[in-house]
């Protein structure tokens, strides 16, 4: 969403040609897993027909079987209906005669009761088997623990074994099972990465668990799937699947305390002395804030405001000036700082690599 979207893009005037071009590209499937430069670019279509992990692959296999069975039923019944309507349509000339009255047939009723019963038994057994196989109640040995906390309207992502917290962008190593604990800080959300796993609700006072075993590197998108208030639509998720050695490097970077750049000392002081620290943690500076996302390595993330905007210094200025401009209704308040202060603060934040 551009910073100037409010007036020019009313009624979607400017959005249309771009939309068309983008749509055609999306159609060609060129975008799957490519490009991370823009918030609204890359990730491609989160189609559940393009699985890149377990259990998404198993769910697709199961779903395909269901679809095939239903397709056969559809063709048979729709065929019967169509043939019947065509074959027995009244002729234009009415002879005034009523057709033979047939009151029913116990044999036919039995047939179209028993056959569906058999189909339901088969489908039920397959489904029960899949339900049991795909739910894991305890973490498998050697799995990576991740704690996901849903907030209005962003995702807190904690790696408890590695001792750091990030937001909105989940990083996972290829080939290792990640075991996710899902909790909510406020209302019900739902964690959904269509290409990696089915969705699971994120419910206050409960801990739900899900697992993901990535099988392909790249960036994939998802988002909150349970309506959770004003900005439900901009509670986006990204997952980056890395080769194991790249993941290790990312973890080591995240474990560092925040960078101190001498040139941004003023911005840093401003951050530490305004209300910023009440909500945000920057490790090495202030660790009391937990209401908003951890900003220790803010610039390692590609998006701002849970995917509502690209993460760069210009958007940071925009965001600090008026969060509603990027994400109307967001919980982040406008801090009413001067332009000079905002420039210093944005400069400091964009040094947090």
């Amino acid at each position: 969403m551009s910073s100037s979207r409010h007036r020019e893009r009313r009624f979607g005037k400017r959005a249309r040609p771009q939309a068309r071009a983008r749509a055609s590209r999306a159609f060609l499937g060129l975008l799957a897993g490519q490009g991370v430069a823009q918030a609204d670019a890359g990730g491609g279509t989160p189609s559940l027909f393009l699985p890149v992990a377990e259990p998404a692959q198993s769910i697709l296999d199961y779903g395909t079987l269901l679809v095939l069975i239903c397709a056969v039923i559809f063709v048979v019944v729709m065929g019967l209906l169509a043939l019947t309507v065509v074959r027995f349509r009244a002729s234009a000339v009415d002879d005034g005669e009523e057709p033979p009255q047939i009151y029913g047939s116990d044999q036919l009723e039995l047939a179209w009761t028993v056959v569906p019963v058999l189909i339901v038994i088969v489908l039920g057994l397959i489904t029960a088997g899949r339900i049991v196989a795909l739910q894991k109640d305890t973490p498998p040995a050697g799995s990576l623990a991740v704690r996901v906390v849903g907030h209005q309207w962003w995702w807190e992502l904690e790696y408890p074994d590695h001792g750091f917290v990030t937001a909105n962008e989940l990083h996972l190593p290829l080939g290792q099972v990640a075991f996710l604990e899902l909790e909510s800080e406020d209302v019900i959300h739902s964690f959904w990465l269509p290409q990696l796993s089915g969705k699971l609700d994120v419910i206050p006072n409960r801990t739900n668990t899900m697992w993901i075993e990535p099988q392909k590197t790249g960036m994939f998108v998802g988002q909150c799937a349970e309506y959770c208030g004003t900005q439900h639509a901009n509670m986006l998720l990204r997952v980056f699947v890395h080769a194991p050695e790249d993941f290790e490097r990312w973890v080591r970077d995240q474990q560092q305390e925040a960078r101190r750049v001498a040139a941004h000392a003023e911005g840093r002081a401003l951050f530490a002395t305004t209300a910023c620290v009440n909500c945000h943690t920057v490790r090495g500076l202030s660790e009391i804030g937990s209401f908003g996302p951890d900003l220790t390595h803010l610039m390692s993330r590609t998006t701002l405001a849970a995917g509502a905007a690209v993460n760069d210094e210009a958007r940071l200025v925009d965001w600090l000036t008026d969060p509603d401009h990027i994400k109307p209704g967001a919980r982040m308040p406008a801090m009413k700082l001067s332009d000079a202060q905002i420039a210093r603060l944005a400069g400091y934040l964009s040094s947090l690599e």
């Binding site: 779903g63 009244a90 057709p99 019963v117 039920g124 339900i131 419910i203």
Partner: protein
């Protein structure tokens, strides 16, 4: 079967010389089941137009990515009001209206068992609708937060709690639905009592028209399901105003409890709305196939079976809350079982068509559209009942497609069919066949453009209830098609409304039995006199008018 060769102006239609205020007084104070039925249906269509405008605004917002036509909260209010309106203020009154109008006529009675309760029910329903829409004007509340509710039509906890839904908008939602629920429950009591106690001589239970049987099952479901919703809503009011914590998670309440209560109402509600659609189709399809319904007793048994299974499947709306393996298996299999009795119905309708003389008049067009669309709705329901696949599809546009296939492809299509079929009985006038065809084809094409495509958005990962979406998700084209279909549907409804007006401006008189049909309502004049029948009829079979018309081969020799 010639549609209308009547030239005589029916007696009842002549009685329009009374003054405007007298006529208004008559309608407001009426306890006549026919007038109340028409009031219910008319109010339902009034709200249908409002709910339709809300839908069109949403489709305009979603037609292109990153659109800024609507603010997020405006959009969230629209889908809340759209869902609430369509279920409680459109579906419920229209099914109650047809039930009210037709049950006494079909069983040879002169009115419902409790005419005053009947009137009370209608006015309570209307009051509920007005209270809900008052929120747009009156719910600013203490905090200045609000106008219409924006918590979604199922108002999940804790989002609908005081902490996250400030102001009074959600209270208007609670009270509006709660009050209109009194109307539904009193209507159901009335329909059960009427059907059980006021049948004419010879009208045994196994001779009831299928319409009446199905409305009986619906009425029992209403009595079972709606009080649960009312109870849960009162608990929510306690949470919001009296310091209770049933659903207040910040004080140890349970968010999932609300979902169990809501869907224990909500799933039977789906059948409460759908079985009347079956009821209309089960009357219309035989008449326009010129054949008796195939497998009457199996149709009745299948309806009762659907009613029974309907109360044991609610948590299939909750596969993603983390039900655990046991409950997931139970609700998946129970849901699949629903497919068996609904399959029986589909096959019986097709068997009724088979060997008949199928007359593709407007009511029949809508019913044949219904059969095909309901088949798709049933099959997408089977897909959704597979819990592992549901973990992907739940809360996506696939679900939006599915339930609109049920409620529009199933219910609204049959409602339109029923309107064309029974409008001549209610008014004495035919609806234009030519306009009816325009209405059908516009609505049919629009429906499929809008909702068939939504299956695709769903499998491409688009969640429901989002006011905007980024470009490059591959959803743009499908959303543009969906939005364009909404225009055609609106045009279809406009043609229908025009046909209604035209029926009054240039009347084509219907006569008592324009469709050459077989149930008792066609044995009296159109519109029927206030007392329905001069003498209470006596029946010997399920098709008393067939017996009259074919004394050589009456039905009672075959039943």
């Amino acid at each position: 079967m010639s549609a209308s060769t009547e030239t005589r102006v029916p007696e009842a239609a002549k009685r329009t010389t009374a003054g405007w205020s007298q006529s208004l007084h008559d309608w407001v104070t009426t306890v006549d089941h026919k007038r109340l039925g028409i009031l219910y249906i008319a109010a339902g269509f009034f709200f249908l137009v409002i709910g339709g405008v809300e839908a069109i605004l949403m489709r305009a917002q979603l037609a292109v990515p990153a659109n800024t036509l609507l603010e997020p909260q405006e959009f969230n209010r629209l889908f809340t009001m759209h869902g609430t309106t369509m279920v409680f203020l459109v579906g419920m009154p229209i099914i109650t209206g047809f039930g009210n109008y037709l049950i006494p006529l079909m069983i040879g009675a002169r009115d419902m068992a409790f005419p005053r309760l009947n009137a009370w029910g209608f006015w309570m329903f209307l009051l509920g609708g007005i209270v809900l829409y008052m929120s747009y004007f009156a719910s600013m509340g203490l905090y200045g937060a609000g106008t219409a509710p924006d918590v979604g039509w199922f108002a999940y906890a804790p989002l609908a709690g005081k902490a996250f839904s400030r102001g009074n908008a959600t209270d208007y939602w609670i009270l509006g639905i709660l009050i209109s629920g009194f109307g539904s429950v009193s209507g159901a009591i009335n329909m059960v009592t009427t059907t059980l106690t006021m049948r004419c001589p010879g009208m045994k239970m196994n001779r009831l028209p299928l319409f009446v049987w199905m409305m009986l099952v619906v009425s029992f479901l209403i009595l079972l399901a709606l009080p649960v919703l009312t109870g849960a809503q009162v608990m929510l009011l306690f949470d919001r105003f009296m310091g209770a914590h049933f659903f207040d998670t910040q004080a140890g309440g349970d968010a999932v409890l609300w979902q169990h209560f809501f869907w224990f109402f909500g799933h039977p509600e789906v059948y409460i709305l759908m079985i009347p659609g079956f009821a209309y189709a089960s009357e219309i399809i035989p008449v326009f196939s010129r054949k008796v319904i195939f497998g009457y007793s199996f149709m009745v048994a299948a309806t009762i079976a659907i009613g029974l299974v309907a109360v044991g499947v609610w948590a299939h709306h909750m596969f993603t809350v983390g039900l655990g393996k046991g409950l997931s298996v139970w609700f998946a299999v129970m849901t699949m079982i629903v497919g068996i009795p609904t399959g029986i119905k589909l096959f019986n309708w097709i068997a009724t068509l088979y060997g008949g003389k199928i007359l593709l008049r407007t009511p029949m067009l809508f019913c044949i559209g219904f059969i095909g669309q309901f088949l798709v709705a049933g099959l997408s329901g089977i897909l959704l009942s597979g819990a592992p696949l549901n973990w992907q599809l739940s809360d996506s546009y696939f679900v939006v497609a599915h339930f609109h296939y049920v409620l529009i492809g199933g219910l609204v299509f049959t409602i339109f069919g029923a309107c064309y079929y029974w409008f001549p009985k209610m008014t004495g006038r035919m609806l234009s066949e030519r306009l009816g065809r325009w209405h059908f084809w516009l609505f049919f094409v629009g429906f499929h453009l809008t909702f068939t495509t939504m299956h695709v958005q769903g499998v491409l990962g688009m969640p429901r209830r989002i006011y905007t979406y980024p470009a490059e998700r591959g959803w743009e084209v499908w959303n543009a098609i969906s939005s364009s279909g909404a225009i055609l549907q609106a045009l279809g409804v406009a043609v229908f409304l025009f046909a209604l007006v035209q029926a009054f401006r240039r009347p084509q008189w219907a006569g008592p039995d324009p469709w050459n049909a077989w149930t008792l309502e066609w044995s009296t004049s159109s519109p029927p006199p206030a007392y329905n029948f001069l003498t209470i009829p006596e029946v010997r079979s399920r098709r008393p008018l067939w017996d009259l018309k074919h004394p050589d081969d009456p039905d009672w020799e075959h039943e």
